[in-house]
């Protein structure tokens, strides 16, 4: 048996000592790791554990129009919270609270006995009326607190609802501008934090930390409350007169891309958005809806042709036989029998489809589609509103002669209203395509100082100043002499273009007697201040033509808006010439038996006032053959059945 020597014992003692010393070092390193490396993380978590916050709510930023008129403000709406630890008699407290707050006692009991240092009573205890708040205060319940809070108030009611959007129970933005700019509007919650022990008692030796709430910034929109009021009124009138499926209007400053007004029907009150279908508040039609633009789109074809110098409006001429053959298909003009021999300026005035087909053919598909894209179609405009549509263009590979032809007069493409307004603004402002926007300035809520300002953003110059000037002239003549006569305003040189677009039904084909009638107008034509687009979806009790329904409304909007904006009336120049001082009398045509589709050709020098509903005209007044002044009104009566004694057939 081997004896264990004294040396072995000593050696082993030293080994144990060294190993233990190493472990002492490891422990020191680990202590340093906990205190230095992960110390900050642990401190942050620990402070969360120790601190109790009384949340202090910021005031949400107001929304103002461009002149400082409040569109959305805040009103006091107190809320109630409870501190369960301080409630001695939860059952009684719950009963009393439940009565004032219109909630079940069980639910109230649950809240007042919650395991939390401070408990909100949600949602019944939020946004109380003054009356409820006073009642609760009078109850003088221990552990029940009334906290200052606010809710949104809309002094103009349903006004601008789609743009403004609305907020939820916690004042969080849920739609529209309120959502898009929620981060800036909502501000920063503040808190009164104090350290507490694990039983919820405040630790007296440690100072409270007060973090003041930071109120949200006030937002000044590009919207002009006066113009918005005008389109609001006009849309209401149109709604009651035509009982349409929908209606929308946009007003833009063509020199900046600022949206001055935007509205649509059906609308809603932002404070009661739950009372309408989600479809209504989710769809901001001026940016969301996409449909065939119809003739308003001809402005783009015109702009492209002029820019490419393919046509001289005064010199070049075109004879419209009533239809044009393209790729084996026959495309009809809206005027049966055609417009006959015209200059290209008259082609524009008459909105002659075959004439525009020839322009499209001269351009060719590459050029036409390149202009369409340059004008911003087929992509979002980038407006600062939610839910913007892109529209649909033909795939260029799929474009044959027929698709080229229909595109050139606005069929077979699908665009949004905001795209049209932006594109037409570019066509008439000297060629500059702007990015449309509604948020103009961010203001300090206290001082009113401008903290941030949106500068107009030019995306591209798509046509030359020269071409733009020609377009203004051509479109002015459309209003003075052509299909846009209804928009004529004495003193303001209005330019514009009608549009009557067929809607595609569920079966994929065009629907009968169901059109979106529209008009896009601008004024004054020498230096446009505003561009107005108006579209009415399926107006009833009328012939569905843009020139009949939409143009007069746009005329009114332009006149009232320019007066509101203090734009000087134009006395000189072109406008006067279009007054037609020596108008020859015209013969009233025989309209009985015609379809409403054939009616538009007579509208160049007569107005139509229709009654009843249907496709066919069964009676007219005055009778056919009578001589009347140009511009007189002919009353017609409509029916679904063709009159039997039809002599025109």
């Amino acid at each position: 048996m081997k004896r264990v020597s004294q040396v072995t014992v000593r050696k082993r003692l030293v080994t144990v000592f060294i190993l233990a010393a190493i472990f002492f070092i490891i422990m020191s390193f680990r202590l340093g790791y906990v205190q230095f490396v992960i110390g900050d993380m642990l401190t942050e978590k620990a402070e969360n554990l120790w601190s109790r916050d009384i949340r202090l709510k910021p005031e949400r930023g107001r929304i103002l129009d461009r002149n400082g008129e409040a569109l959305v403000e805040n009103v006091s709406a107190p809320s109630v919270s409870v501190v369960p630890r301080q409630i001695k008699n939860p059952q009684k407290t719950a009963e009393q609270l439940a009565e004032v707050l219109n909630m079940s006692v069980e639910k109230a009991y649950e809240r007042v006995t919650a395991k939390a240092s401070v408990q909100d009573i949600k949602p019944e205890g939020l946004k109380l009326t003054e009356e409820q708040a006073i009642k609760i205060q009078e109850l003088n319940l221990e552990g029940v607190y009334i906290a200052e809070d606010s809710k949104r108030h809309y002094p103009h009611g349903e006004f601008l609802s789609h743009v403004l959007g609305f907020t939820g129970i916690d004042n969080q933005g849920l739609a529209g501008i309120e959502l898009y700019y929620d981060d800036k509007l909502k501000g920063e919650e503040g808190a009164l934090s104090f350290f507490s022990d694990n039983k919820g008692h405040k630790l007296k030796d440690i100072a409270e930390i007060y973090t003041p709430p930071e109120d949200g910034l006030d937002l000044k929109l590009t919207i002009d409350e006066r113009i918005q009021t005008i389109i609001d009124r006009e849309l209401d009138l149109a709604e009651s007169k035509y009982n349409p499926d929908g209606a929308l209007a946009i007003v833009m400053d063509p020199d900046t891309g600022e949206i001055l007004a935007s509205d649509s029907r059906p609308d809603f009150h932002p404070g009661n958005f739950r009372e309408v279908d989600a479809e209504i508040y989710n769809r901001n039609l001026p940016v969301w809806s996409t449909y065939e633009p119809g003739s308003t789109f001809k402005i783009i074809t015109l702009a492209a042709s002029l820019e490419e110098e393919l046509v001289d409006l005064q010199e070049d001429e075109f004879t419209d036989p009533g239809s044009i053959e393209v790729g084996g298909a026959r495309l009809r003009c809206w005027k049966s029998g055609g417009h006959g021999h015209q200059t290209y300026l008259e082609v524009v005035q008459n909105s002659c489809n075959p004439g525009f087909v020839t322009l499209g053919e001269k351009l060719g598909k590459e050029k036409l589609f390149s202009y369409i894209k340059d004008f911003g179609f087929g992509q979002k405009t980038g407006v600062d509103l939610h839910g913007e549509g892109k529209g649909i263009l033909f795939d260029e590979e799929d474009v044959g002669p027929v698709e080229l032809a229909t595109t050139s007069f606005g069929q077979g493409v699908s665009v949004t209203p905001i795209q049209q307004v932006t594109a037409v603004s570019a066509a008439i402002n000297g060629g500059y395509l702007y990015e449309p926007y509604v948020a103009k300035e961010w203001l300090d809520p206290v001082t009113g100082e401008v903290l941030e300002k949106t500068e107009p953003k030019v995306k591209d110059q798509v046509i030359s100043e020269e071409t733009s000037k020609e377009i203004r002239h051509a479109l002015e003549s459309v209003v003075a002499k052509g299909t846009g006569r209804g928009a004529y305003v004495d003193g303001y040189r209005v330019g514009g273009k009608t549009g009557t677009a067929q809607k595609v039904g569920e079966d994929g084909g065009y629907m009968d007697n169901n059109h979106i009638v529209s008009f896009i107008g601008f004024a004054p034509a020498d230096d446009p201040e505003i561009v107005v687009y108006l579209a009415i979806d399926n107006p009833k009790n009328t012939v569905q033509f843009g020139g009949v329904v939409a143009a007069p409304i746009v005329g009114t909007i332009i006149e009232d808006s320019l007066r509101a904006l203090d734009v000087k009336e134009r006395k000189e120049g072109l406008a006067k010439e279009y007054q037609w001082p020596d108008q020859p009398k015209v013969e009233v045509p025989d309209l009985v038996g015609l379809s409403t589709k054939d009616l538009q050709q007579f509208l160049t020098n007569l107005s139509i006032d229709s009654e009843g509903e249907g496709e066919y005209i069964i009676e007219q007044s005055p009778a056919a053959g009578k001589m009347v002044e140009q511009g007189s009104t002919v009353r017609i009566f409509l029916s679904d059945e063709k009159p039997k004694n039809d002599s025109n057939e």
Partner: protein, 370 residues
């Protein structure tokens, strides 16, 4: 009366004595600081624990002073009786009605405040007996049958009794201390390796037999998975240490002692110490324990005989292993194991027994051949 041994008796190791006094001082101060909130809440007396700790420290010091003057060879003479008494106490504590349950373990015996933990006595009793056994039969130590197995039996019977309470922490201290003693005495490394394998199996068995141990290990690996359950203690401990930083929050400024860290004056007192006194305070205490170990092993090296060496080593090993386990738990190095920090944690049995054993160590230092 003038025997040879006594004539060689010198003064005890003053460095060791100073270290012990400093640790005691830190302990009493920290027991007061960490328990003040809890004891005012529970007993309406901020000094409740501090006063008692001071009393225990005083009794312990008296015992230490007395024992310091008892020649350590006496323990060799009485080792059999001591061991038997310890065994009886350890068995008695398991009997319901005699043993009292605190914190889930039946570890206390006695009446109310005057209660002791027999396992604490067993640790010192076993160290004395093992030191005698190993020094008497050192020639057999390399033999598996005659040396290793009997020593193991001696260790594992009390370990088994302690695990019946159950008290894994104290059991581990006991086993590891005894193993080190056997190793120092000359036990074969190959025997230990075989035992190590067996130990792994046994450890696995222990873990499987008590599901709370699995969840403790899981909580150790990721305490934030169950922050209110098994991860609770280690998270609360780290929340104390982390914010301490370099300098600490200042004596008395702990926030975790405000009912966040449960009973902060016992097992987790080092967390509060690191919170209030920072890295500097924490490493200072670690350094004190290192000095304690150094002086202790120095005594073991210089002891006049093998019994003295093994006894000194056993005593210092017992204290240092307890320090390792406690601090490692608190700083998150190993899973939670309930054990106090010697000299510093609140607790009468623990403190008195520690000081008593320091008395033995100091006495051995008086015979050191340096």
């Amino acid at each position: 009366m003038f025997r040879q041994g006594q004539r060689r008796k010198k003064a005890p190791d003053y460095t060791l004595l100073i270290v012990i006094f400093m640790l005691l001082l830190v302990g009493v101060v920290m027991v007061y600081s960490s328990s003040a909130i809890w004891s005012s809440y529970k007993f309406d007396d901020a000094f409740y624990y501090a006063k008692r700790q001071l009393l225990f420290a005083f009794c312990g010091l008296m015992a230490m002073y007395f024992i310091m003057n008892v020649p350590y060879q006496k323990w060799r003479e009485y080792s059999n009786i001591i061991l038997i008494v310890c065994f009886l106490l350890l068995i008695a504590v398991l009997i319901p009605g005699i043993g009292m349950v605190r914190g889930g373990a039946r570890s206390w015996i006695g009446v109310g405040a005057f209660s002791v933990q027999p396992s604490e006595f067993m640790k010192i009793g076993l160290i004395i007996f093992l030191a005698k056994l190993l020094s008497d039969k050192q020639k057999y130590i390399t033999s598996f049958k005659k040396g290793f197995v009997p020593s193991l039996l001696l260790v594992f019977v009390p370990f088994g009794l302690i695990m019946l309470q159950p008290d894994l922490g104290t059991g581990m201290v006991l086993v590891v201390t005894c193993f080190i003693m056997i190793y120092i005495a000359g036990g074969r490394i190959s025997h230990f390796m075989g035992l190590g394998l067996l130990g792994l199996v046994g450890f696995a068995g222990l873990i499987i037999s008590a599901p709370y141990r699995i969840s403790r290990i899981k909580a150790f690996l990721n305490p934030w998975e169950d922050p209110l359950g098994d991860g609770f203690q280690i998270i609360q401990s780290l929340y104390a240490i982390g914010p301490g930083g370099l300098m600490g929050m200042g004596l008395g400024q702990s926030l975790q002692k405000f009912f966040y860290l449960p009973e902060p004056q016992t097992d987790f007192i080092f967390a509060i110490l690191a919170e209030e006194l920072g890295f500097i305070g924490g490493t200072f205490v670690i350094l004190l324990f290192f000095l304690l170990m150094w002086r202790g092993i120095r005594v073991a090296l210089a002891a006049p005989d093998l019994f003295g060496s093994l006894l000194a080593l056993g005593i210092i090993g017992m204290v240092v292993i307890q320090v390792f386990i406690n601090i490692s738990v608190v700083i998150g190095l190993i899973p939670v194991t309930g054990i106090t920090l010697p000299f510093i944690s609140y607790g009468g049995s623990s403190l008195t027994l520690t000081l008593l054993s320091m008395g033995i160590l100091l006495n051995i230092s008086r015979y050191a051949k340096i």
